[in-house]
Structure formats: C-alpha cells, structure tokens
C-alpha cells in the first residue's frame, strides 16, 4: 500500500466508473436498448483497476468477452466505449465490433474476444512484437477459469516460456464458466499448471485491490526485466449472471447477496483506506457520485448517438481491395 493520494483516488474512481458502467448496461440491456449479448464485470473491478495500474502505455493487452471494466481502466474514451456497446457509428469500432469485440489498438488494447482461449496466443504475438521493438513493453493475456481449459492457453504458456517472452497471463477466475463451476471443470490448479511449464504462478485475492496491484506489479516487472512470463490467478466473483438474462439458478441461494455484502471490492477498498485514514468517506462518496453522473451522461449520449449506414457495411473488410 505505497500509493499516494492521487493514485488511491484514481483507483477508486476507476472502480466506481466500472461499477456504474455495468449497472447502466444492465438496466439498458434489460430495457432492450442495447442489442446482442453483454457480459458484465461488476464485482470484478479490482482486477481491472489493479492490473491496469501496473501497466504502461507501451504495453499490449488481449482480453476476454467480459471487458467493459478493463476498457475503462485502460483509459479508453468512455463515450466511444459506451457507444460501441450500443452499436453506434461513433463507437470506438464504428459499431461493428460491439461488446464482444471492443478494441482500441492506439491504447494497446487488442480487443475483447469472442473466442475463449484466443487471448493467450495473441499476447504471445504481442510479446514477440514488444521484444522486436525493444522499448520495454510487455503483453498481457486475460482469460477466465473456463478459458483456462482451452488448449490454446497451454500452447501460449509453452511458447512464452521457451521464448522467454515479456508476457503476463492472467486467469480471472470468477468461479463459473457460464453455468459450470470451476471446481468441476478445472483439474489441478492454475498455479500448478503454470509450474508444469516452468513458469511462476501466484494466486491472488481478487476482491482486494491492493493484493491485485501488488501481484500485478511483480509479474509485470518480471516480464519487463526480461525474466519471462508468469501467471496471476485472480480469484473473484461476478455480481450478475454470465450474460444479462441469465437466471443464475446454478448459484447458491443468497450467493450474490452475500458477495455484494461481504466481497464488494469497492467497499473493501473503502474500509481499508478510510480505516488507515488515507482517504475520507466523503471524498469517496463524491467520486462515486461523480462517476455515476458521468456514466449517466455517457449513457444518454450513446442512446442518441448517430448510427451506421449502408455505406459502412462493406468497408473495412480489407485494407486494400
């Protein structure tokens, strides 16, 4: 916990923005204002805030379908991000990608991905680019507990290790892949799997922003030093279903309520920093409210944003025709 005030405020602001963003998406998706499928990361904000605080501009990230919070934490334009989820022409991907394929290459964000497991190899490739560039950048691959069983992830582990690449693998384990529990689908442990490839791994409490940040700093620094890849296994939980609309009957009764009460990373952050007298409840409340307002404005703007037209359908298939 060696963060200064500005950093602490920034961390909380990020988590608050993520939370409000997802709640706005939840409400508006449920109201039929957002098309498609959306996968919300509410509950998992400490991952986004903690990991991304350890990253730098020169780094690349390949992430999952559950990426809204990470886009915010990466500093992508909030309006463009929300617009994309609404499929507006002003979205960061012109509305062609949507929630599952939101990307911002200028920010090193290689995209959310609709294909589970694809992020591992993409980050290995970005790691090759980072090494070739020689500017000290690293690459990060996110995947879920479910994604941890995809063959491409292990192939990526192996390649990153034999090539000693500046790659960090992050298994963001929220306990479920859709309706299937990771206690069933994952043989062995994430850390032992990493060790199988000669790679260090660390398990982290994903409800604790500070634990995430500390662990992230370590693995990121290791990669940046040229000491090779590592795995971070973040144990967390989602506050909503797999996608909006999931009735979640596979979860225990009261599971989500209990999580919200006891394992809310925003609350736990607040307890820590207020307890240590680093920040006050009032300033946190102000930030929380500011972000609520900012997301509300963004939401309204997205709903009014211009839409793509016929001229857009057949552009961008190739860069040269």
């Amino acid at each position: 916990m060696q963060l200064n005030r500005t950093e602490l405020l920034h961390a909380y602001r990020t988590m608050a923005a993520c939370r409000h963003f997802e709640e706005s998406v939840y409400v508006n998706f449920s109201d039929g204002k957002i098309p498609g499928f959306v996968h919300l990361s509410a509950g998992q904000e400490a991952t986004a805030a903690g990991v991304y605080m350890a990253l730098e501009e020169r780094d690349w990230i390949a992430t999952t379908h559950r990426a809204h919070g990470q886009c915010i934490a990466r500093g992508m334009d909030l309006q463009e991000t929300m617009d994309e989820i609404y499929g507006a022409a002003t979205g960061v991907c012109g509305g062609k990608g949507g929630s599952m394929h939101i990307a911002d290459l200028d920010k090193g964000m290689l995209g959310a991905n609709g294909i589970i497991g694809a992020t591992g190899p993409l980050a290995v490739g970005a790691g090759l680019s980072a090494r070739a560039k020689g500017e000290g950048g690293i690459a990060v691959a996110f995947f879920g507990d479910g994604g941890s069983n995809a063959g491409m992830i292990f192939e990526a582990y192996n390649m990153a290790n034999i090539w000693n690449l500046p790659v960090v693998f992050i298994c963001e384990d929220n306990g479920y892949a859709e309706a299937t529990s990771s206690s069933y689908s994952v043989a062995g442990t994430q850390v032992a799997r990493a060790k199988g490839f000669g790679m260090p791994g660390v398990e982290v409490d994903g409800f604790d922003f500070f634990a995430v940040l500390d662990a992230a700093k370590e693995v990121v620094e290791r990669a940046r030093r040229g000491d090779g890849p590592s795995l971070m296994h973040i144990k967390t939980a989602r506050f909503y279903g797999h996608f909006v609309g999931d009735a979640q009957t596979y979860r225990a009764e009261g599971e989500v309520e209990k999580l919200r009460a006891e394992k809310d990373c925003l609350k736990l952050f607040r307890e820590k920093v207020v307890g240590a007298a680093l920040l006050s409840d009032e300033e946190l409340d102000t930030i929380f409210e500011e972000e609520r307002q900012r997301i509300e404005n963004t939401t309204l703007a997205s709903q009014a944003a211009p839409r793509a037209t016929k001229a857009d359908l057949m552009t961008d298939v190739y860069s040269s025709y």
Binding site: G95, M100, A150, A177, S185, V186, Y250, L313, V317
Partner: protein
C-alpha cells in the same frame, strides 16, 4: 398434431433416442449447466435451452458438461463414436470450428475411408449458426459450406420444427458423422410435430410449393424468406417452386434438377458468404447438369462478402431479405 417449437422438437428427438438406445450420450458446454455449482443442475440445458431436461432424466454419465475445450471434446466424441457410443456433441456456435474442426474433418469424417471401410462413426454435432441476434462477427456465421466441402460428413439444416425432429432422429441413427445446423433465431418457431418418433431420410428435398415460372432453392432459415417471396410474387402472377433441400450433403440433386427443368429458372437463397458457398455449389450443379433447360442465369441471394457486423442497422443490411429474393426472381424473368 401438437404444435411445438423448433427447440422442443430437437429436444424431444434427442430424449426419445436416448430412451431407446443407451449408447446415445450428449456432451458439450453447459448442455446440463450447473455441474459442480452450488445451485441447480440442468440449470441451462445449453445457452438457449435445447438440451434442457436431458441431464435430469439421463444423469451425468450420459449428459456431460464439458470444459471449454472444443478441440478436446470433439476428438473425444470421435473416439467415443468409433468405440461404441453414439455421441451428440454440442458445438455451441459453429463459429468455434476454428478450434475443433480437426476432430470432425480429419478424424470422424475420414475414419471409415482411411480404415478401409472398417469403422463406423455415429457422431452428431449439433451447432448454432446464423445472424440476426446482434451477436457480431464471431458468433453469427453460417459455415455449413465448409462442412459440405468435406467428404465423409453429412450436413443437415432443418428449416422447421417437423423437419428438425425427423432429421435429428435420422442423424442419431445414422452411422456416419453428421453436422446438424440449428439457426439460433429459429428456436421459438412453432409447427406441428408428432409425438412419436419418425425419421426424414437424408438426401430428400422438401418441395414446399410447385410453380411454373421460377424455382427457388433455399437453405435453413432462408426457406421462410423464399416462401414469403413466392407468396408476394404470386400476387404479380409469378408462380414459384420452393425447395428446401433439408440436407446439403447428401444433396437431393434429382429433385432440384427436375424442378429446374420444369421452370427453367433458378434462384438459390443462402445465408452464407457468397464465395464457395452452398449457393454457388447448387448454382454450379444446375448450370452443369440442367444447362439446356435454363432460360436465365442462376441467381444467388447470399449474405455479402464481409464479416457479420454488430450494429443492428448493419446486421439488418447484411441479412438477405424477402425483397432480395423477389428481386432475384424478377432478374431471372427479365
């Protein structure tokens, strides 16, 4: 006859065959849903509920939730099929073939031939295809053309609940690998479906209506566009034959050729991208074998040569429409 949804028809086909034959098993991601979880088992029955109830009735050794390892479980299904089981594998979205095509096209599809006729591979791969749900580029593709290209695989694309049930039972009883394409926007479609088991043979097209002027061959969900277009055109005095091939491999060439010989004109409607598509395939077969009967070039109505966009407006533009079909029919009459 009782009315049932497309979803219920497929579910009923699987349940019935599982009752009849204990070697039929179901595997895939969340085909039960809830395994290992603290709440309900059989919580999902697949993301759109098509396998709902099977886990409850047949238990976890016959209805297996799999890890997210399509390459692994597709290969496992192929291995199970040549050793005595009859797996029905759920490949949630056909878009995921990029991580598991090997088990289908290099293993299951080739065993019989490579092993000199000594293998049987009774494998059914159920998979969702098609656009319209705003699921964007990686969850909306129509990829049956890829499977149709491959010898050793049978390819089935039911367009309505009745066919879905009969074709699914046939698929499960068939001793060859079958890829069974379910359009994700059709699960709630209703139709008359008998309670008892029945099969629809592969390679027998369904002729929905017979006309004099133009033949329309349409695949899967596109059959409904074709019928709607035929209805509209009838008002203008253009009478169309509408054919649903039901299976793309084997393909009922005879029926298509006969009907084209009668009308002299053909439109093929296919939700695929145009190049090397089933539309191109049928067009080329007719162009080769019924050339003399053709009064006009075969017209294709397909999706465009671009990925499926997310934005609603763009996806609507992407999808073939009834108007597209009508325009194509009129082009053949021009």
């Amino acid at each position: 006859m009782p009315k049932k949804t497309y979803r219920a028809a497929i579910n009923e086909a699987m349940a019935g065959e599982m009752r009849r034959d204990s070697s039929v098993i179901v595997m895939g991601e969340d085909v039960s849903g809830g395994t290992g979880s603290p709440g309900e088992d059989d919580a999902w029955g697949g993301p759109l509920g098509v396998t709902k109830g099977l886990h409850t009735e047949f238990g976890p050794t016959r209805v297996l939730d799999t890890p997210i390892s399509e390459g692994g479980f597709m290969g496992a299904a192929a291995g199970a099929a040549i050793t005595g089981l009859r797996p029905i594998v759920d490949l949630m979205f056909v878009d995921f073939l990029g991580v598991c095509l090997d088990g289908i096209f290099n293993q299951a599809a080739k065993f019989r031939y490579m092993f000199g006729g000594k293998a049987e591979t009774p494998l059914v791969v159920r998979t969702m295809y098609g656009a319209g749900l705003r699921a964007a580029s990686q969850h909306s593709q129509t990829l049956y053309s890829i499977f149709t290209h491959v010898p050793g695989v049978k390819v089935v694309v039911p367009s309505n609940p009745y066919d879905a049930k009969g074709l699914m039972i046939q698929a499960i009883r068939d001793n060859d690998p079958v890829v069974f394409f379910e359009h994700k926007a059709m699960y709630d479609d209703e139709g008359e479906v008998p309670d008892e088991a029945y099969t629809i043979p592969f390679g027998e097209a369904n002729v929905l209506s017979e006309g004099e002027d133009v033949t329309i061959v349409a695949i899967g969900k596109m059959v409904h566009l074709a019928s709607a277009a035929a209805d509209n055109l009838a008002k203008d005095g253009i009478s169309c034959t509408v054919i649903d091939p039901r299976t793309l491999s084997p393909l009922d060439e005879e029926t298509i050729l006969e009907e084209v010989e009668a009308t002299g004109r053909l439109v093929v409607v296919d939700e695929s991208h145009p190049r090397c598509s089933v539309a191109a395939d049928i067009s080329s077969i007719v162009g080769e074998k019924a050339f003399k009967s053709l009064k006009a070039g075969v017209q294709k109505v397909t999706a465009p040569h671009c990925p499926v966009p997310f934005a609603s407006e763009l996806e609507d533009l992407y999808m073939p429409t009834v108007e597209d079909v009508e325009a194509a029919v009129r082009r053949t009459m021009a």
